[in-house]
């Protein structure tokens, strides 16, 4: 029951926000290096996003792993779709794919993503 409630809340979060990052800590104070790296990439691209601190809610922390069939945090969602964790986001950022994915989704992103 509580499991389903957690999944419903996750679903609602990723559907009502264009970009959602499930992370350990907050965008300003990440509590894990991997979450921090993704937060840094998003702020570098100046993408508006909602950060969900999974450390504050055990049900969300476990629920989001079931939601995406993905065992680790962070998890990035664009327009309700699971994009990946830290490794994938980093690879996509480096290749410019991430900026393209945001543009395609209609999310404002700073150009000059290609460093």
């Amino acid at each position: 029951m509580s499991d389903n409630q957690a999944l419903d809340r996750i679903k609602q979060d990723v559907e009502s926000n264009d970009v959602v990052l499930f992370m350990k800590g907050t965008p300003n104070f990440p509590q894990c290096g991997f979450s921090g790296q993704v937060a840094k990439i998003l702020s570098h691209l100046e993408v508006p996003y909602k950060g969900v601190n999974v450390l504050e809610d055990m049900e969300i922390r476990e629920g989001v792993k079931a939601f995406s069939n993905w065992p680790t945090i962070p998890q990035l969602y664009i327009k309700g779709e699971f994009v990946g964790g830290c490794d994938i986001v980093r690879e996509m950022f480096a290749s410019g794919e991430l900026a393209t994915a945001f543009k395609t989704a209609g999310v404002p992103v700073k150009d000059a993503a290609q460093a």
């Binding site: 994009v83 830290c86 490794d87 690879e91």
Partner: protein, 79 residues
Amino acid sequence: MPMEPQEIEKMIKDALPDAEVYITALVNDGDHYRAQVVSEAFRGISRVKQHQLVYAALKGNVGGALHALALETAPPETA
């Protein structure tokens, strides 16, 4: 509980027999590793699905016994 790199490699190869697997330790604590995996199974599928295949091979150890497994996956180069 830490895992030995040989154990990680074996679990990946059990599930993906053609895989070439390179494991390196990120920190010498037995639960932060980088795994580079090359397998035909990855051809034509998204990165998320590629990583999910490796996570499935590791049967719930990622996020548990393995705090962090930095993953790089790719199909073999067709050169």
